[in-house]
């Protein structure tokens, strides 16, 4: 599903910073992997490249078998809209839209009519136990609820890949466990997932942990997440 070949990325700030130094990575369809590493090791940079939010300097990135390189703004927007779902640490919900409207927004950019997209959005909210909160605005929701809304928004277009940058970073351990449980359930429907995290407890709930250090993949750890009781809090 995702294949990275010798990806390099340098930020040209005050002084050039070589962040990714030849990343090779393969994530298979339906796989759930996590990326760990020290702060500044390039996790977010890598995830942004995967999400076509940022471009890379050299190497090749194949998504769903297609080379993602030098896409136009429109092509990139289309791929993001249809193939990828994003979950952010800070939720990034639109404050003046209700939970339902937030979830429905990606469908707006697919020109789905309002009735239809609100109906689909409701189905997803219901699935995440947020039916009663559909008409609430983000500032009326708890962190866990907000993250569930944002997961619903990520899934509403039925993407192939979910990219999550520290999805539990702003949540307490109990809510983190709930969120992970949901992600796990989503994963079981066959969606590929890449999660950036600082917390080992989260990483252990994924199939593979990719350890990033100074812009290269240090090692890949294989887990057996099925042995973990997901209802337990994360330490």
């Amino acid at each position: 599903m995702i294949r990275l070949e010798k990806i390099n990325k340098t930020y040209f700030g005050a002084q050039p910073l070589h962040v990714l130094k030849g990343i090779d990575l393969q994530v298979n369809e339906g796989e759930m992997v996590s990326i760990m590493g020290a702060s500044g090791s390039g996790k977010s940079t890598m995830l942004n490249i995967l999400g076509i939010l940022d471009n890379y300097d050299s190497g090749n990135y194949y998504l769903n078998g297609k080379l993602v390189k030098d896409l136009s703004e429109n092509e990139a927007a289309d791929v993001r809209n249809r193939t990828i779902g994003f979950i952010f640490q800070s939720f990034n919900l639109i404050p003046f839209k209700t939970a339902m409207e937030n979830v429905a927004l990606p469908l707006y950019y697919q020109n789905v009519n309002r009735k239809k997209r609100n109906q689909i959005a409701m189905e997803y909210l219901e699935r995440f136990g947020l039916k009663e909160w559909a008409d609430h605005y983000p500032n009326e929701l708890s962190g866990g609820q907000k993250q569930r809304v944002s997961m619903a928004r990520a899934l509403v277009t039925q993407p192939k890949v979910i990219l999550a940058d520290e999805p539990t970073g702003a949540l307490d351990s109990k809510t983190s466990a709930e969120v992970m449980q949901i992600l796990r359930e989503v994963h079981e429907t066959g969606i590929t997932m890449v999660i950036v995290t600082h917390e080992r407890g989260i990483a252990l709930r994924t199939d593979k942990i990719i350890h990033l250090k100074d812009g290269i993949i240090e090692n890949i750890e294989i887990n057996n997440p099925d042995s973990i009781d997901f209802s337990k809090e994360i330490k």
Partner: protein
């Protein structure tokens, strides 16, 4: 882009910050409102003034004699001369385009009461005219008839009374027709009552305050002889009066042995030039009004543009998120442009409606005022101007959105994630 769904989406962002949107829209509202009110007011004055001038047929010129200023054919300069009825006949023959021609002679009385009927009396001017005078200075016959050809040929001692003269000399509702009125010591039979078309334009004093006699009777009674010092002509609509004004003067000069180059012997002025001057004046006023209105509108538009720029900056994150979940640059441009367009158009239309509404009220108030010589009539904006204003608002709404829209598409999806 402009479907209902899109409007809902845009409306949501506009109403999110209601106070700001209202304040922003106010500039545009005010610009259009001002434009409507000023332009309607300008129209009101123009209509009012034009109605005043309507009392005189536009294609009219007046001629009056003066002393000659050049010696010619043995005559000294400084000669006093006058025209005769025969001159008027000659003019009619030479210029078939002359529709009406009439001399006018006036006599003012120094007496306290020169017009007397029964125990009543008053001091009024006395005018002598030909029947055709009625088409030169428009008037309304309230009772009876105007001077006719028989009055002229028979030097009949008949008269018309101006409205004020009638009101002074007779009881309210009393029938004056056939009554004998004493004017400067001589009795005349009243054949009509006349009112001027408007109070503001008169030739040699208001018709309302005059007693009108047949010209020939006047000449006879006041021993004027066959002398004409003042006459007026109306040309048909195909012939601008200015085209014949000079030729006509030359004809008269020739008939009276006056040097063709003599500028002072015969003078004239024509109404069409006055009309033109008024039209020019109001054209200038309208241009001024549009400059003021559009200037105000412009500052309103710049206000909208400015606020939208700030808004776009504030919405960096929101726009970034939209980009991340699949909004294309054209979606973002469309959204910002539509927001600006919707805000401006709404504000403009509200300004237009309120302006038109207020002027409709003002118009109906002035229309109901009893005076029939209002200087202010039908203060309404022309439909064309309203359409133009609307089009300008729409275009400027789009223009106001251009800069903010360009700024908005600079925002990349990644900015949403970075800006914590």
């Amino acid at each position: 882009m402009f479907d209902f769904d899109g409007i809902h989406e845009i409306w949501q962002t506009i109403t999110r910050n209601k106070t700001r949107s209202l304040l922003t829209a106010f500039g545009v509202f005010w610009g259009i409102f001002l434009l409507v009110v000023l332009s309607s007011t300008g129209n009101g004055f123009e209509n009012g003034l034009m109605q005043q001038v309507e009392g005189v047929t536009p294609n009219t010129a007046f001629f009056f004699t003066g002393e000659t200023s050049e010696p010619y054919k043995g005559y000294q300069k400084g000669r006093s001369w006058s025209m005769q009825m025969a001159d008027l006949e000659a003019i009619k023959e030479t210029f078939p385009c002359v529709k009406a021609i009439s001399p006018e002679a006036s006599v003012w009385s120094s007496e306290d009461k020169n017009v007397i009927y029964g125990s009543r009396g008053g001091s009024f001017s006395v005018k002598g005219v030909l029947p055709e005078y009625n088409t030169i200075e428009k008037s309304k016959i309230l009772k009876g008839r105007f001077i006719n050809d028989t009055d002229i040929s028979a030097n009949r001692k008949v008269c018309l009374l101006g409205k004020k003269v009638y009101e002074t000399m007779f009881e309210r509702g009393e029938d004056p027709l056939g009554k004998m009125v004493k004017v400067n010591g001589i009795y005349f039979q009243v054949v009509g009552v006349i009112r001027s078309y408007t109070d503001n334009v008169n030739i040699n004093g208001s018709i309302d305050e005059s007693v009108i006699l047949p010209y020939t009777t006047m000449q006879q009674v006041y021993a004027l002889g066959d002398k004409i010092r003042f006459f007026a002509i109306v040309a048909d609509d195909e012939t601008p009066i200015t085209d014949i004004e000079e030729d006509l003067k030359q004809l008269i000069k020739q008939r009276h042995d006056i040097a063709p180059t003599d500028e002072d012997a015969i003078n004239s002025f024509n109404v069409s030039e006055i009309f033109k001057a008024f039209k020019g004046l109001f054209f200038g006023i309208h241009i001024l009004i549009w400059i003021v209105g559009l200037g105000t509108l412009m500052s309103g538009i710049i206000g909208v543009s400015n606020i939208m720029l700030v808004t776009v900056k504030e919405r960096t994150r929101e726009i970034g998120v939209r980009r991340a979940i699949g909004a294309k640059p054209k979606d973002i441009i469309g959204q910002v442009l539509s927001e600006s367009l919707l805000l401006t158009t709404l504000a403009g239309l509200v300004g237009l409606c309120i302006g038109v509404g207020i002027m409709a009220i003002v118009g109906s108030i002035t229309a109901n005022m009893p005076s029939d010589n209002m200087m202010f009539q039908e203060p309404y904006m022309s439909f064309k101007a309203a359409v133009a204003a609307t089009v300008i608002v729409i275009i400027s709404g789009l223009l106001a959105g251009v800069l903010p829209a360009l700024r908005a598409i600079q925002i990349k999806a990644i900015d949403a994630i970075r800006e914590e």
